[in-house]
């Protein structure tokens, strides 16, 4: 840890009020001494007029981070929430850790934001006490004011300048949760008013003076390159000004998006391709390789006891194969970025979940130093992991450089977005369960075969944590089973991959929780009772790199089951199913789904969800994440990307369906209150939804579905 002294500094110039730089990432980087130069990576400014500006070091993509993080700071500082301005940070030396993913924004900033707020509060109190010549202990704060004895009252704005001259106190006291007036209350989204009036600026809404628009004609096979092209017809389109070869294909530059699209379409028929190494890739071929890998060598993610021996000694062995397909992100805002690149400087406007990477890679791609590139992050029209990639931001910088001069906005259309997504890959799962002579679950093995997503993050290298990452959700199976083996057999795939909301935990928990349900039914046991018994009377349990508190998992399971009326009599054709998971050992979620299947038609009636993510910073935002996370998971029950001849078969929302309003079940969320440090909620509800529904389908019909997507006629 860096010293407390380094965590917070007054950075503002005279006349600016109180400006504090906060160092959120308290660990020194490799090679950096603990006394390294102070790089604040969040800012708080209290202006002389009393308004507070909070710079948020994470990006907003609908998960509510521009509301939640300011709330934490505002609570400790007793800010007036109506007088806050929120600014998204810019990546660079001050903000080195803008990566936004893994449901970690609140948990990684919680301590520092609170300490920062408390420190600023003490400084403002100190300034007031000095002015009033009273002991600081006689001062308190309330909604943007310091209150003193005899009705004395001064606004933060009036005190900011004097506070900035005071020494930064160490160990400012933190509030007790009982005194919170913002945290734990329902606060609407900070950006709501801008969104409903159309004023909110997303990446695609960036408009710069002299801006041009571009569409890129890319080979339908990822990695392919144009061999020959004739740009005569494209250039004849009104508004098209240039057709340029760029690293990702052919860029059509125009004075409007529509002209760029029309020019690109005119170019399509006049281009031939070298389709590259992926041109024979097909889903069928990948599946055959994965099936072979189900019985070949693999990397262990977890091995306990002697599973082979336990299976050999078992009175009964159950076995099943589960399958989950490639998935796309299909954010409603398609990929896009706006760039302006000059000889000695550049600027980028991009909705990036990894702004620091976007900066470094775009700078390298256009031959500039990182400090010569400025990156602005507007609001993001859906992330879901897609925008952790830097392909679209780097491409925009390359197009802008090739086009020369002013800013260029590169716009992907829906087909570009789905074909050139960084897809989440398909996996096959082989599970076996051994039942001993006493009818107890004595062995559990789970083999996962598929491409490794982690390589997309490590420059193609196989990281030591690969098996654990690809088996996340499987290796941390929370049930007490004497012998467990979970491993991952990598199958190579030639197209780009990426993270997806809920990552590999989605397919892995689907297979795990459905197969566990199979075991329960095979033993004639109630799926809830079976899970509770297997969770047992344990406390904190360690699985590999994670630990989980089994008591918290049991609690959410019990709450979800009770609230859903587990065991009640249901209408004909209805069924209840449940599933649970401790997400990265930090957030606990259990869901009970009620479905019906009538004449082969599946209807999702209701999902009852209980979650424990520690202290609920903003219950309104948390419930929104539960609702949205469940929608995302349920949508995956009906969608898939398949490959033929190196191309995605799917080209848009018409053949990659997304759940619609009429399909959406009722969602009932129960927040299990807890005083623990808050953890994330962006992803944890996603993986549990799929097995809860498929287990309910089994309860309703007796039909076990082991393959996603649910195919017509399968029910």
């Amino acid at each position: 840890m860096t010293s407390r002294r380094d965590f917070l500094k007054v950075t503002g110039a005279a006349g600016a009020g109180l400006v504090l730089g906060l160092h959120l990432d308290a660990k020194p980087r490799p090679g950096e001494s603990a006394k390294a130069a102070f790089h604040p990576n969040a800012f708080l400014a209290i202006r002389p007029d009393g308004t507070a500006q909070i710079t948020v070091p994470k990006v907003e993509m609908g998960q509510g981070v521009r509301t939640a993080l300011p709330l934490v700071l505002a609570e400790e500082l007793d800010l007036d929430w109506s007088r806050i301005e929120v600014v998204t940070a810019q990546p660079g030396p001050d903000f080195k850790a803008m990566n936004t993913g893994g449901s970690t924004s609140v948990s990684t900033t919680w301590d520092t934001l609170r300490r920062a707020g408390a420190t600023a509060r003490e400084m403002l109190k100190g300034a007031a006490a000095a002015q009033w010549k009273v002991p600081v202990g006689q001062c308190r704060t309330e909604k943007g004011f310091v209150l003193g004895p005899d009705g004395k009252k001064l606004g933060y704005g009036a005190l900011a300048e004097a506070a900035a001259k005071l020494p930064v106190p160490k160990d400012a006291p933190l509030k007790k949760p009982a005194d919170y007036r913002l945290l734990g209350k329902r606060t609407p989204r900070f950006d709501g008013p801008a969104i409903v009036t159309g004023k909110a600026v997303f990446g695609l809404d960036v408009r710069r003076p002299g801006q041009r628009f571009a569409a890129v004609l890319r080979c339908p096979v990822p990695g392919g390159q144009p061999r020959t092209w004739d740009d005569t017809k494209a250039k004849a389109v009104r508004g098209v000004t240039a057709v340029l070869k760029v690293p990702t294909g052919l860029a059509v530059i125009a004075d409007s998006t529509w002209a760029a699209f029309k020019g690109r379409d005119a170019l399509t028929a006049a281009t031939t391709w070298d389709e590259g190494t992926a041109k024979e890739f097909s889903s069928a071929a990948l599946e055959a390789k994965a099936r072979a890998a189900l019985t070949g060598p693999a990397d262990d993610a977890r091995r306990e006891g002697d599973p082979a021996k336990a299976l050999a000694a078992a009175a009964k062995v159950l076995e099943a194969e589960y399958s989950f397909p490639y998935q796309a992100h299909v954010t409603v805002e398609p990929m896009n970025a706006t760039a302006q690149v000059g000889a000695d400087g550049a600027e980028l406007w991009v909705g990036s979940q990894s702004a620091n990477r976007a900066l470094d890679r775009a700078a390298t791609a256009v031959g500039l130093k990182a400090e010569q590139l400025k990156v602005n992050v507007p609001l993001i029209g859906g992330g879901f992991g897609r925008r952790l990639g830097t392909d679209f931001s780097t491409e925009a910088a390359q197009v802008a450089k090739a086009a020369g001069g002013g800013p260029v906005q590169v716009v992907w259309d829906r087909e570009d977005d789905i074909r050139h997504d960084l897809h989440h890959p398909a996996t096959l799962h082989r599970l076996r369960a051994g039942i001993d002579g006493a009818g107890a679950l004595s062995a559990w093995t789970h083999r996962i075969a598929g491409p490794a997503v982690l390589r997309s993050w490590t420059g193609g290298q196989k990281a030591p944590s690969q098996a654990a990452t690809e088996a996340n959700g499987a290796y941390d199976i929370p049930y007490a089973i004497p012998a467990i083996a979970v491993d991952f057999a990598e199958v190579e795939a030639p197209t780009p991959l990426g993270w997806w909301r809920g990552i590999q935990i989605v397919p892995n928990v689907f297979a795990r929780e459905c197969f566990l349900d199979e075991v329960a039914h095979a033993l004639g046991k109630d799926p809830l009772r079976f899970r509770l018994d297997l969770l047992g009377d344990r406390g904190i349990v360690k699985f590999g790199r994670d630990t989980a508190d089994i008591r918290r998992l049991k609690k959410v399971l019990e709450v979800a089951a009770e609230k859903a009326g587990w065991g009640r009599k249901l209408p004909a054709g209805h069924g209840l199913g449940l599933a649970c998971h401790a997400y990265d050992g930090r957030t606990y979620a259990a869901e009970v789904a009620e479905v019906s299947v009538v004449k082969g038609r599946l209807k999702l009636h209701k999902v009852t969800c209980a979650v424990d993510c520690g202290l609920a910073v903003n219950p309104a935002g948390l419930e929104a994440q539960v609702e949205g996370g469940i929608a995302f998971g349920l949508s995956a029950l009906f969608s898939q990307i398949t490959w033929e001849k190196g191309r995605t078969v799917q080209t848009g929302y018409h053949d990659f369906p997304v759940l619609r309003l009429a399909d959406m079940p009722l969602i009932e969320t129960h927040i299990v209150s807890s005083a623990e440090t808050p953890s994330g909620m962006g992803e944890p509800p996603v993986p549990v939804a799929i097995p809860a529904v498929l287990n309910a389908v089994f309860a309703a019909t007796g039909k076990r579905i082991r393959k996603v997507p649910i195919e017509d006629g399968l029910i």
Partner: protein, 153 residues
Amino acid sequence: MPAYQLTVNGRARTVDADADTPLLWVLRDTLGLTGTKFGCGQGVCGACTIHLDGQAVRSCQTSLKEAAGHAIVTVEGLSKDGSHSVQKAWITEDVAQCGYCQPGMIMTAAALLKHKAHLSDHDIDEAFADHICRCGTYPRIRKAVKRAAGGVK
């Protein structure tokens, strides 16, 4: 090349562009009204929904020529200050997550409420059948539409 006369949010505009240019791009690129969003360009996702003579239509499927001479209202013109009953309901129910699809949703809701005083769940299902929200704000959209209709106390 003829210039087209449009009435956008009550204001007369002259646009010189190809007749087949989708209204979406005229609004966004020519007139700078970026509140209307591009999601699919195929009339499938509803992000580009606007009002044409009071009806909710997909601006990506409406050509400049078709729009000329008609009254066009975008999310920017729904109210001066976000005070339309649908916008207010959207804030009260805290609907938006990423917010990108919401202008289209709001325009559909506003047109629906203008034409129907009493809404059933089925009416809402039908009206939003061609809208996509990848964030999954559907439960709150339903609540907000009912609230704007006066159905939620």
